[in-house]
């Protein structure tokens, strides 16, 4: 996994029309960070930073020829990545901006499927910019907006100055009803620290350390420094929790969390997981897990996008560390009971 760090990180920037993607992009590019970015955009013109490489894309989504309908990739990205690799060393990271109506999955899958792309670049995180004023409405009438929230590793909840405290609590609760795991930042005019959106390592198997819901940090809207000590943060917010968030359950997009103190049987779990994503992969947008297997002193981690999975032994379980397996699915109309039952069957008795 050492080589992962030499691969160029790729951040996917999504967000519904008007949420503030371009504002965030311009903010990233104009800040004095000493880094150079290659930015893949759909519309030229709105971004004008001389120092960076700006590439126009066509957002061509192709089905892979493998009979799997959700194995779609961005064909134009494969081509652009090929070309960009000729300029390796001229930029530090890549940002892919999608159109407001785009599904982030084909972009993410491009980095799983294509051998050449995978050799040179790694997906860092999916960052979704959401409009605090309009998101609640869009979640009702725009499936694309819901997809973008469900898929996100980082959510920049923008334009918080345009809503009341109650409205803000409402929209956050709706976001959490869909995706409790993404890091959420409340912003005005996308004022968010660059380190909060770039170099997140959200797809890095080595960094799937924490798949706890992000509720507890979510209220921390004015503190963009996430290097602070987590223990303190948790304590602080537990005090607030009594008069905290409303709990929404989104009708068609949910997250499902599974947990076991007893070790899992790898000969049962792996076939079950593979079968699950093969049969329900269209509904499952993202999956992640940290697993404790019977007779295995290593932590096993996996992550997936729709039907694509990758996993590896991560490290030894530490002395005194609780050997607990945790699996998270985010998806549409997940067959919750069937998944829970299936998972139970994998627990070593």
């Amino acid at each position: 996994m050492a080589e992962a760090s030499q691969k160029i990180p790729v951040t996917v920037l999504t967000g519904y029309l008007g949420a503030g993607k371009t504002t965030l992009l311009n903010r990233i590019l104009s800040e004095n960070h000493g880094k150079k970015y290659a930015v893949i955009v759909n519309e030229f013109g709105e971004i004008g930073i001389d120092n960076d490489l700006i590439i126009g894309a066509d957002e061509e989504v192709f089905e892979m020829n493998n009979g799997c309908v959700c194995c779609t990739v961005r064909g134009d990205l494969v081509r652009i990545m090929d070309g960009l690799m000729k300029r390796k060393g001229k930029f530090d990271a890549i940002i892919v901006e999608t159109t407001g109506l785009a599904d982030p999955a084909p972009v993410a899958q491009t980095f799983f499927v294509d051998e050449d792309v995978q050799k040179n670049a790694r997906l860092d995180a999916v960052v979704t910019v959401a409009d605090a004023k309009w998101l609640s409405d869009r979640l009702k009438d725009a499936p694309e907006a819901k997809n973008q929230i469900a898929f996100a590793d980082v959510i920049v909840l923008n334009k918080t100055d345009l809503v009341s405290k109650a409205e803000l609590a409402e929209v956050e609760a709706r976001i959490r009803g869909i995706n409790p795991y993404a890091k959420l930042h409340r912003t005005e005019r996308c004022q968010v620290g660059i380190s909060d959106v770039l170099e997140r390592g959200a797809f890095d198997l080595d960094r799937i350390l924490e798949i706890e819901p992000d509720f507890l940090e979510a209220g921390d809207g004015h503190d963009h420094d996430h290097d602070h000590h987590h223990g303190h943060d948790h304590d602080h917010h537990h005090q607030d929790h009594g008069h905290g968030l409303k709990h929404y359950h989104d009708e068609d997009m949910q997250s499902l969390s599974l947990r076991s103190d007893k070790p899992l049987d790898p000969t049962k779990f792996m076939p079950w997981l593979q079968n699950l994503v093969a049969t329900e992969g269209q509904k499952i947008l993202r999956s992640k897990g940290i697993l404790a297997f019977t007779g295995d002193d290593d932590r096993y981690v996996f992550q997936g996008v729709h039907m694509m999975l990758e996993g590896d032994h991560q490290r030894k379980w530490k002395d005194g560390e609780k050997r607990e397996s945790r699996v998270v699915f985010i998806g549409r109309e997940l067959p919750e009971q069937a998944i829970r039952d299936g998972f139970e069957q994998c627990i070593t008795t």
Binding site: G56, E60, F62, V78, R79, G83, K86, R87, E115
Partner: protein, 339 residues
């Protein structure tokens, strides 16, 4: 439909590594082409290095950015860049700008016709310009993956998603569309004009017999086919993408249909580039571990040209007479050898 099963067979080997003139270019090589007896190494970005068989190197600046495609007819070299420019370089090393994309889009592909007509593409648009300077354009439904002129007549194959469009720039007739699901990248006509093949985004080749558009699926590759080369007289098509060179037979009227490909020069590394000799039944093969071999097509006999070292071989080329072979690598090492 044909599938093959890559095997392996180690062997002892004759070496001509001491006859190679080393050319330390110091910049990644994208491709190499001979104009006369000088090798033109097209860099991954910005410049072309011109080398003689004696090892003398001069450099010509071409693009302000990455060089995305290059083609040569032996008389000139034409390159397209991410600066939106299409540039010609003659045998003396003089450059001229053929075209500049109005929107400064990337020039992704380029092809040359024997009569001097040049074709290129930016996004979904294919352009053709004849020697008189008359330009025509054609739009395909998705980004152009590859371009190739037919050996006879003025007919341009445009590879794209879900197939290949055959366009006759000088005729009013509707373009012909050869359909096959998937993303088609590099495209090439067989020298006898009977077959058209594409390297796909998937690890497979596809082909059509042009007389009746019958499909030929050529699969089994562990990796994407990034390099293909017709052997002398078009008897076989040598391809990269596996740990051996996969050579599909094209001697019969059915092409490779129902036949096994030859699997030559197995190595513990992936074949990265292939270049068949212009006259004899031998080919040069470059591997991902830096090895360069010459391989006889008939029996797979091998001669070592370069030992495995450093990064992948990214370029191979013969001069027209077949007396000089040049290679280049991703980390800017190169060499030239006289046969």
């Amino acid at each position: 439909m044909k599938e093959f099963d890559p095997g392996e067979a180690p062997s002892s080997i004759v070496s001509i590594t001491d006859r190679v003139k080393p050319l330390p270019l110091g910049a990644a090589v994208g491709s190499v082409h001979f104009l006369g007896d000088r090798a033109f190494f097209v860099g991954a970005e910005e410049s072309v290095a011109i080398a003689t068989a004696d090892g003398e190197i001069t450099r010509t600046e071409t693009h302000f950015g990455a060089i995305l495609c290059a083609v040569s007819d032996g008389k000139r070299l034409v390159t397209g860049g991410d600066d939106g420019k299409l540039i010609a370089i003659d045998a003396k090393g003089e450059t001229s700008v053929i075209a500049t994309d109005a929107k400064r889009r990337w020039i992704d592909n380029v092809a040359l016709h024997g009569d001097g007509t040049v074709a290129w593409s930016a996004g979904k648009t294919a352009f053709v310009r004849n020697p008189k300077g008359e330009e025509k354009t054609f739009e395909v439904p998705s980004t152009v993956g590859g371009l190739a002129f037919a050996p006879k007549g003025l007919r341009l194959a445009i590879a794209h998603y879900n197939g290949v469009t055959l366009w006759f720039p000088n005729m009013a007739a509707n373009p012909e569309f050869l359909e096959w699901a998937g993303s088609h990248l590099a495209v090439s006509f067989s020298p006898d004009n009977k077959f058209l093949v594409t390297a796909m985004h998937e690890a497979a080749m596809h082909g059509w017999r042009l007389a009746d558009n019958r499909h030929m699926r050529m699969s089994g590759y562990p990796g994407r086919v990034r390099s293909m080369s017709w052997s002398a007289g078009g008897k076989g098509l040598a391809t990269s993408g596996a740990d051996t060179v996969i050579v599909w037979p094209f001697t019969s009227k059915d092409g490779p249909m129902g036949k096994e490909p030859a699997m030559l020069a197995p190595m513990p590394a992936r074949v990265a580039v292939v270049a068949c000799h212009p006259k004899n039944d031998i080919m040069a093969v470059g591997y991902a571990d830096g090895t360069v071999l010459m391989v006889r097509l008939e029996d797979g006999a091998e001669i070592l040209v370069r030992r495995n070292a450093g990064t992948a071989v990214s370029a191979l080329g013969w001069n027209a007479k077949g007396t000089l072979l040049a290679f280049g690598t991703e980390d800017g090492d190169a060499g030239i050898v006289e046969m």
